[in-house]
């Protein structure tokens, strides 16, 4: 199996992360739209409503049939708390998209046979920093461990980039 270059695992991952980026964006925006309606709009109970109110009615019908007690309880909390929850989700979305973008850039470089370069060191360094923030925000130990591994890899790539530069400048 090829790991670098055209028609390799890196090529597939680069393409896959491209798809994931758009999927995450679409999924999150849809979820946020749904959540914002549920949390901040007055419930529409009139079945004869038209236009956007019809959409709102359908959304609230869906929420009503789900029997999600936690969501019901959360809908009754203070508006500031709900705003905080929505902003937290937006920050997590932003971080997720940024992490995917950085990973995609890295695999695109691998696809183009650019392995030990300063660019990749910068990408890995930024990726590890983003993952630290992400792991703290989501209380994920697995992500934190992954971040530690990426930090070590950054050091390895830094040494590799230095050796590569040395080799490139040896005529």
């Amino acid at each position: 199996m090829k790991y670098l270059g055209k028609k390799s695992l890196s090529c597939f991952l680069s393409w896959f992360l491209h798809v994931v980026w758009f999927s995450v964006l679409a999924g999150f925006l849809f979820m946020m739209f749904f959540l914002c309606i549920v949390l901040f709009v007055e419930p529409v109970t009139d079945p004869s409503a038209t236009g956007f109110n019809k959409v709102l009615y359908m959304v609230f019908q869906e929420v009503g049939s789900s029997n999600d007690q936690e969501l019901y309880d959360f809908m009754k909390t203070h508006v500031a708390l709900r705003l905080l929850a929505v902003s937290y989700l937006f920050v997590v979305l932003g971080l997720t998209l940024r992490i995917i973008t950085k990973a995609r850039l890295l695999f695109t470089n691998f696809k183009n046979n650019i392995v030990f370069s300063e660019d990749n060191v910068k990408i890995l360094s930024k990726l590890s920093k983003l993952l630290i923030i992400f792991s703290i925000m989501t209380f994920s130990l697995t992500t934190f461990l992954l971040c530690v591994i990426i930090l070590i890899m950054t050091g390895i790539f830094k040494s590799g980039a230095s050796l590569q530069q040395e080799n490139d400048l040896t005529i």
């Binding site: 530069q165 040395e166 400048l169 040896t170 005529i171």
Partner: protein, 74 residues
């Protein structure tokens, strides 16, 4: 850098162009340009040998040591 590669001077003396020399010693123009501008970190013995052969000179004619200004003041 203390070691200066006097390739440009030797090429001018022998009236040979960068492209022509690159072709003769079988390295790319960009690599020869790196050598000429002094950006190279190291030079292979085989490359030095090929340059000396084509320019009909000694390695000492190509390399020159100049003391750094900083070490002068010390």
């Amino acid at each position: 850098m203390s070691i200066i590669f006097r390739l440009d001077r030797m090429m001018a003396d022998r009236k040979i162009s960068l492209n022509e020399l690159a072709k003769r010693i079988d390295i790319t123009n960009s690599n020869l340009s790196i050598l000429k501008t002094g950006k190279a970190r190291a030079i292979r013995i085989s490359t030095l040998e090929a340059i000396c052969r084509e320019l009909d000179c000694q390695p000492g004619d190509l390399l020159e040591y100049q003391q750094d200004k900083e070490s002068d003041t010390e």
